[in-house]
């Protein structure tokens, strides 16, 4: 399913694997986190070969998967204590870490409640808190905000930024372009098991078609007139729109509007487009990221 994936993630950065559902993001994470074996190729995590030094890899990573891996029949505190026990934290140290994480993730009040009563956002927070027990060097977050409401998503982003500030390396998969754009130092775009691009968010944006102004007219005559006046524009007769290349700056916009004014062309609607990762995705894969457009 995956083919020719070649990734290099520097320590202490956020690396985001971006792609629609079914692109192979979770498969990649499963291979990197020792849950699945790759048929071919080598994978090194924190300098350890995933196939040969599985134990060493497991000791330094933390994984938060797509579905909250929490124990519903235990309380929030017990879930964290379970992790502390499994990581062999000395009992006083374990209690301190648990209390600290509950505090940090704003779960202290619900600590004694069974997780089965938690909301989706609380489960995700607890899930991530459990991953942090034992201070992993590298944290894999597989779609950590899928299904979360906007507020919980922002809280999750803040937590991730805080982790990076503490020196943790983060491998993040997401289907939300905005999320990758905001959090990641580097982004790789995955489509149907293939890497289609890799680079910083601004690198990728540069690969997208440039910014432009979109004009909409009430009839074809106006559209014809505008198309004659504005060189380099592309027209869409069905939508009665004209796409004019522009850097989006105030000066060039003023010049454009003045030009339209001089020729007495009436514009129904006017909008400025700067490329976002949606455009990048479209440009790179040749098809729209339907998931993202839908939400």
């Amino acid at each position: 399913m995956l083919d020719g994936i070649d990734l290099d993630v520097p320590a202490g950065t956020v690396f985001s694997l971006l792609g629609p559902n079914g692109a192979g993001k979770t498969t990649t994470v499963n291979v990197l986190t020792t849950l699945m074996k790759a048929d071919a190729g080598t994978v090194r995590v924190a300098g350890h070969d995933v196939a040969a030094e599985t134990k060493a890899v497991r000791a330094v990573i933390g994984v938060t998967g797509q579905f909250a891996a929490v124990d519903e029949l235990l309380t929030g505190r017990e879930n964290l204590q379970l992790m502390a026990d499994l990581k062999r934290l000395e009992s006083g140290e374990g209690r301190r870490v648990v209390a600290e994480l509950l505090e940090r993730f704003d779960l202290t009040e619900s600590a004694q409640k069974l997780v089965s009563t938690y909301s989706g956002g609380m489960r995700r927070k607890l899930d991530l808190a459990m991953t942090l027990v034992g201070d992993p060097q590298i944290i894999f977050l597989d779609e950590p905000t899928t299904g979360l409401d906007p507020r919980s998503r922002r809280i999750m982003w803040d937590i991730i930024r805080q982790l990076v500030a503490d020196g943790v390396t983060i491998f993040l998969t997401t289907q939300y372009l905005e999320e990758a754009d905001r959090l990641a130092d580097r982004i790789a775009v995955l489509d149907q098991g293939h890497l289609v691009a890799q680079g910083t968010p601004s690198d990728l944006k540069r690969q997208a078609p440039g910014s432009h102004v979109q004009l909409r007219f009430t009839d074809v005559a106006e559209l014809d007139a505008a198309a004659r006046v504005l060189a380099g524009s592309t027209r869409d007769d069905a939508d009665l729109t004209l796409r004019v290349p522009s850097d989006g700056g105030v000066k060039s916009l003023r010049a454009l509007l003045n030009e339209l004014d001089e020729h007495s062309i009436d514009v129904e609607e006017f909008s400025v487009h700067t490329p976002d990762l949606d455009d990048v995705f479209l440009a790179l894969t040749g098809h729209a990221n339907t998931e993202v457009i839908a939400q």
Binding site: L35, A69, L73
Partner: protein, 247 residues
């Protein structure tokens, strides 16, 4: 047992304590069955001895098997709810999760068995077993629990959904009914009799019955232990292989 297994067992204990209905169910159903057979139906059977003395060993095995459905469900919901993936990417021993399930399952079974034996005594059960025979009987019960628990853990792991895990365990619950648990095998019709004679629960129950009536049979005991060893081995290997495969 490793430290990981002990930590996991503590988790399973909490599950059991938080889900008293499951324990209650595992204890209550065999008792109801026992009352029904001893009081309502059993008087119609001529087994040569007091029916409660005849039925108790069978009821003990029925109680073990009946309790297994809760184990299968617990194992399966662990697999399907994702917590297992967290354990898998941690540096903890592979068998710990399964060991804990087996031990927790055994403890529920032992509670149910203690209740059954208590009720049996109240109904007039008068075993003739000596102290060493009692010890051997308890040992055999524990061995049966271990063997059937491992097979159940494997079935629970292999099932795709909790519902199918519940279904997969049904043959194991029905098997004791087609053994010498309730009536002697030689009273059964042809076909069923042969099946009952050669299925694992008949020698297990006969061995237990022999111990409790103070007339142990070496042949039954060897057959029972051999079946248990086989079931445990298949269950253990199958469970471990399935656990490793399922991500």
């Amino acid at each position: 047992m490793s430290t990981d297994s002990v930590i996991m067992l503590r988790r399973n204990f909490k599950h059991t304590v938080r889900n008293p209905t499951a324990v209650f169910n595992a204890v209550l159903f065999p008792i109801v069955l026992m009352l029904m057979f001893v009081y309502v139906i059993g008087r119609a059977f001529d087994v040569g001895v007091d029916y409660v003395d005849y039925a108790t060993p069978g009821m003990i095995v029925l109680a073990i098997c009946y309790g297994l459905s809760a184990t299968a469900l617990a194992v399966n919901s662990d697999m399907t709810k994702g917590i297992i993936n967290r354990f898998k990417v941690m540096d903890i021993s592979r068998g710990a999760v399964l060991n804990a399930q087996v031990v927790a399952s055994m403890l529920t079974s032992l509670i149910a068995i203690a209740a059954i034996i208590g009720v049996a005594f109240a109904l007039g059960f008068r075993p003739a077993a000596s102290f060493p025979e009692w010890l051997a009987a308890i040992g055999l019960i524990v061995v049966v629990c271990v063997a059937t628990s491992w097979l159940t853990v494997a079935l629970g792991l292999a099932a795709k959904t909790p519902e199918s895990a519940g279904m997969a365990i049904v043959p194991l619950i029905l098997l004791p009914f087609l053994s010498s648990a309730i009536v002697p095998v030689d009273k059964m019709g042809p076909g069923v009799r042969q099946f009952a004679e050669y299925q694992p629960f008949t020698p297990i129950i006969e061995a237990l019955r022999g111990l409790l009536t103070g007339e142990p049979s070496a042949g039954d005991a060897i057959a029972a232990l051999a079946w248990c060893a086989g079931i445990a081995l298949v269950g253990y290997l199958w469970a471990l292989a399935t656990f490793k495969r399922r991500a």
